[in-house]
């Protein structure tokens, strides 16, 4: 992170809800997912090394059918939020409430029940599917885990493939026969299998080509409009997050620095870090990029040694 350390000093206090103005503050009773003051730390490297704080009091809320985009750079802790919600990272402090019920540090039994409502799509479509399982078996897995009969699961799997626009004979194939975009469709279908109410999407389009990226994003939006599922959409790419999210939260070094409606955050960012993220991303228009570069250099003195 040494490369980014030069420049602005970040303010240390942010609105606890991470939201900008009062009228758009999400009311707690509207929220499907309510994360408050979440803290996660991992053991330091080496003997008796201090614990590393990955998340330092993160709060966010997601309403039913809403997409919250979570944008940040590597090491910012953005993926850890998703993993904590899924029960894959230990919660050291704060609360995670899903549909009015505390789910942080839930028992395994409770976690199993919760998996009907909360699902995941990971970044890397190459390692998120078991290479030695047929697609059909991969898709049936969450159904079988919920106690659905094998016969019933088969019918649902065929239906799922239709929903993500994959041919039905896909079930008899192995992941390696598919491209990244197709695999990501499989991963999305798998997440949809149990009709969840929230899907944590951890960089779901980052490993994909530009054109494929677009179609997968459209698919996610389309599914949301039909089923009313809510997404926590984690990404490092502000332009991706802007296009798929109703609201956007920006995370930097384990804390949310700014959040608000997608258009506002990406057009008139209030926080210097968000502005820096925005100006860093080059645009595919030489003239506008020249202006953007000039503004970036003026603000952040990049290039000056």
């Amino acid at each position: 992170m040494t490369g980014t350390s030069q420049g602005e000093q970040l303010p240390t206090v942010f609105p606890p809800d991470g939201t900008g103005t009062a009228e758009e503050r999400v009311r707690a009773r509207d929220a499907l997912l309510d994360v408050r003051d979440l803290r996660v730390s991992f053991p330091g490297r080496g003997w008796r090394a201090p614990r590393v704080e990955v998340l330092d009091g993160v709060s966010l809320r997601i309403r039913p059918g809403e997409t919250l985009g979570l944008v940040g750079e590597s090491g910012s802790g953005k993926s850890t939020i998703g993993r904590a919600i899924l029960g894959l990272a230990p919660v050291a402090g704060g609360t995670i409430t899903f549909d009015g019920e505390r789910v942080d540090n839930a028992s395994r039994r409770r976690r199993r029940a919760l998996s009907r409502d909360v699902q995941v799509v990971f970044q890397d479509p190459y390692t998120s599917l078991n290479p030695s399982l047929l697609i059909g078996d991969t898709l049936a897995e969450p159904l079988l885990a919920q106690g659905v009969s094998a016969r019933e699961a088969r019918g649902t799997v065929a239906d799922l493939l239709d929903r993500v626009a994959l041919p039905r004979d896909t079930v008899h194939r192995l992941p390696r026969e598919f491209s990244g975009g197709q695999r990501q469709r499989v991963a999305i279908a798998r997440a949809l299998a149990v009709s969840p109410r929230l899907i944590v999407c951890d960089e779901p389009v980052s490993a994909l080509d530009l054109t494929t990226q677009r179609t997968v994003m459209d698919l996610l939006t389309d599914i949301q409009e039909r089923t009313g599922v809510a997404y926590l959409f984690v990404s490092h790419d502000l332009s991706v997050v802007r296009a798929v999210s109703h609201r956007v939260a920006v995370i930097h070094r384990g804390a949310i620095v700014e959040s608000g409606e997608a258009d506002m955050i990406t057009r008139r960012p209030g926080h210097p870090y968000t502005r820096r993220l925005l100006l860093s991303a080059p645009v595919a228009d030489p003239d506008r990029q020249r202006e953007r570069r000039a503004e970036y250099e003026r603000r952040f003195h990049a290039g000056a040694s």
């Binding site: 699902q119 998120s128 991969t138």
Partner: protein, 587 residues
Amino acid sequence: MSAPVAASTAPRRSGTARRFLTNPQAMLSLLVLMVIAGLVVFAPLITQHSPTTAELRNAFGPPGGGHLLGFDSAGRDVWARLLYGGRNTLGGAALAVAVALVIGVPSGLAAGYHGGWFDSLASWWVNMIMALPAMVVLLASRAVLGPTVWVLMVVLGVLVAPSFFRLVRGTVAGMRGELYVDAARVFGLRDSRIIARHVLAVVRAPIIIQVALVAGMAIGLQAGLEFLGIGSGSLPTWGAMLNEAFTNIHREPLLMLWPGLALGVTSAALVLLASALRDVLEDRGTAPATGRRARRAAAVPPTERDGVGERADLLSVRDLAVAYTLADGTSTEVVHGVDLDVRRGEVLGLVGQSGSGKTQTAFSVLGLLPEGGRVSRGSVLLDGTEVVGAAERTLRGLRGDTVAYVPQEPMSNLDPAFTVGDHLTEPLRTKLGLSRAQARERALDLLQQVEIPDPARVMASYPHQISGGMAQRVLIAGAVSCDPDLLIADEPTTALDVTVQAEVLALLRRLQAERGMGVLLVTHNLGVVADLCDRVAVMREGGIVEVGATADLLTSPRDPYTRELLDAVLDDAPARAPWRPREVGTR
């Protein structure tokens, strides 16, 4: 980087079985083993003689009268002893393998999957067992537990269990971090089910291979013990037969042959089966002819097409085709006739999606195609020197001061065993002939040029001690260290965070302007192209669809594919509208 992949071909479910059936080595060794097993299992049906009935008058008797192989020194039927002995020999080996599996696999699964104290404890035990000399333990246990083959085989099983433990533990620990295991947890699968479904599926193949190897080893060890006379005296086994035959080797050498043959054929079949299984299960197939020698042999003389315009002075690629040799010996072309020109001081962007052949094209210019790949036709002129078909010596001469390379993954391109300083000074000393002190001086200067704040400290750091952005700066410093005329940058910022990317792009722009380098920038990011490039070439499926000045191409693309790429850019996509509550009952 994309190797040619034959997607969407042939159903794969029966793939393993089919590969097995068509592998002659696997089928032959399996057939031999099945015949041996059949003979041994159905021994009572095959011979009506008893392996233990001794008739001294027949001692060393020749074959005949229903006695296929004659008699041994005690007048027992050799054929019958061979068949019944096989039961004990193979049964003993099977017992050893079973014990090893029962101990090694579950403990390996548990240790690998859960880690923690069980892992430490089990690994400690395993190391201790592996440190024991097997032969000595077997001899000692025979003295304590008595001379039974079966007990000895159980002990042997315990002694070889670590090989299964380590194999399984290693594989499982490696996949514990895999996303599909995380995903399975999110689906609410129990650990036992995750292990049964996901983990076992992965370790199955290596276990099967290991079983064949361990079985062969167990047979050999057991025969060795028997041969030394420390097996069970009464049971007929191949090893015991060898022992008896050896004492009479001068009188009847042929008696050595039969048990020796049985042991040899069985062990050989097992080892061959194991190696064939490895090919089949791990999908290696026969390796294509690759490596330096094969590449040299496959090198074609440069070819030139007529009338394709004037060739640029720095880099000029004409009709370049790149082909890969596949496992089955056929080859597939991934780049089909590419023309490219980079003039001195010019930045050319080469854009396209993954698999479009842009990286292959860049590697061809460097003469560094990955294994199996070769330039199958065309010409690449680098500062007037032909690269296609050039000797390694010529290429070495060009790299560094004529052409240099900045890779996509900065971390994997620095050797973790050397410091940053070593990486930078090495080429300076060999290429420019600088002394150690001069090279150090120059390296510090280079690090300063790439805007690294504390050059002396970074010089002494190992790659894992610096960040990705820093590593990329180091690699850029290395690339420009010998003042190249052409810099080939393959997705130089793709692995970096966007704020770091902005800084690295600024650095590249400054260095390019200062030194007047030509740059071939391979990227999929049209924003990076707009930022840095003078001209752009768009690649699709191994061919160039459009070349033009950056501003023209990005604002008014002529080719529909270029337009498609530009449409996918999200810069001007509208932000999503604010959330509205759904009407009840629409779900």
